[in-house]
Symmetry: C2
DNA sequence: CGTCACCGTTCGACATTGTCGACCGCACCC
DNA sequence: GGGTGCGGTCGACAATGTCGAACGGTGACG
């Protein structure tokens, strides 16, 4: 955005660099210079200058054989440092472990980031099955219990989400703004949210809000597992599990007040 | 670096932004504007412009109450995306899980990044004890088995490390360049490295090199645990464990050739 | 209660830098 | 052999990022 003289707006080259990193975080994760330039609507010379600098600070790496670019190692350290400094997460660790032990399910904690749920903590199911690390994953708002909790207590986010097209992920995904609003009303009444095969077939979740002092919802904690373990035969969340999740959320909320 | 006309060097504002993010990854993880400016030798107006832009792209957050800055949520997603695209890690996952099951110890995979070992994969010990996620952590090169492996097969890195002061972390840490060089010669001869209470008191590790096609060492895989489980009474690595680590490293190296 | 110091923030002049078109060598394909 | 598209370089110059000066706010101190 340009006007007479410089408007004290954002620094263009930093915004472009950030857009480049976000691009490289998508899809195959590996792009040629021409693809990066085309995707961002930049001349190749411009894109190359930015990539060269990002490479120099290790935010980007270039494959020596193919010349294609991908995200660099420095970002892992920064991402982890963000986690380490995340107070919500650090104050939730013990409660999350306890919830996993008690419920026998995997536990995650998520916050709102960029129109999705960003997982900031993940405790594996307490069994020997092979599991993949969920930290850093982005989950859809409308199709997960975590997302419904965040939507229920954020009017702006909720309005923005309803304006956007709700993607159908399974045959049970909520895809109309009206249905979503009805469900969010129920979430606010109940104080917790559930999803049953709306995000992944065969899988269900229960989540509850984590509140900062003053009541603002800053995140959600929840459990996930196979639908027959989380829900009864009518796809309703099992009351015992709901109670455990709600207790953990309340305990974390109290911990944030100290 | 400035000369007549613009030298096709790095873009200053992107380098400054990266330095700012690295600063925020250190220490308390939270800095005021004046501290950031002072730390990087920049005028406050300059630092503010960069922080405002980093905040706008969610790479930085500002505490509403104190006005202090910290790393932002977008970095977690980028860090995780780097991991997801990391071929060394994706090809190592199964072998790492198998090594943890077989050895009964925690397993990590590390690569060289910015003069340290960056942990790109971590499998918890197969037991119920509370453990903290090691992915993204930076480990010292001279005081860990992982680091010694990386140093042993990288002459430039080794020379650079010996020029730097070797920090004493425990009373067993190697602190002279001569001792380090002697140890690295042994590592090359043996094909694996060991540390015994050189990094953390009471803890030991064994690591072996992961090689890309052509033989270049691109990472190290290793186990860690209490020193009495990893070593015999003379602080020597137990041969059965060494064999397991070496086998896993060789298997991963072969997987990288496919 | 008034003063002081330092904070984060804003603004605009202007010097410097980042932009980007033109061109390059290379690799691949027909 | 010619055509196409790649990553990359270079330098003119327009646009931007820099940064000094000033601001209001806040907390500490006497």
């Amino acid at each position: 955005m340009v006007s007479v003289g410089t408007v004290p707006g954002p620094i263009q080259s930093i915004e472009r660099a950030a857009a480049m990193l976000r691009l490289l975080a998508r899809g195959s994760g590996e792009y040629g210079l021409a693809e990066v330039a085309a995707s961002l609507g930049l001349p190749k010379g411009t894109a190359h200058g930015i990539l060269r600098t990002l490479q120099r600070v290790a935010f980007v790496e270039q494959d020596e054989e193919t010349g294609r670019y991908r995200l660099g190692a420095a970002l892992l350290h920064l991402g982890t440092s963000y986690l380490d400094a995340n107070e919500l997460r650090s104050r939730s660790l013990n409660w999350a472990d306890a919830l996993a032990a008690r419920s026998g399910q995997e536990v995650r904690i998520g916050v709102h980031h960029d129109g999705a749920v960003l997982v900031v903590h993940h405790v594996f199911r307490p069994d020997d099955t092979m599991q993949t690390l969920g930290i850093g994953a982005m989950l859809p708002l409308h199709a997960t219990a975590f997302g419904k909790v965040l939507l229920a207590y954020d009017a702006d986010l909720s309005a923005a989400t309803r304006r956007r097209e709700l993607t159908s992920l399974t045959r049970r995904t909520i895809v109309t703004p009206q249905s979503l609003e009805r469900v969010l009303t129920q979430v606010r009444a109940a104080g917790w949210a559930n999803d049953a095969e709306e995000y992944l077939p065969g899988e269900a979740s229960i989540a509850a809000p984590i509140r900062a002092p003053g009541g603002l919802v800053v995140g959600a904690i929840g459990i996930s597992g196979s639908v027959d373990r989380i829900c009864d035969s009518a796809s309703r969340a099992k009351p015992a599990l709901v109670s455990q999740v709600a207790s953990a959320a309340e305990a974390i909320s109290r911990a944030l007040s100290d």
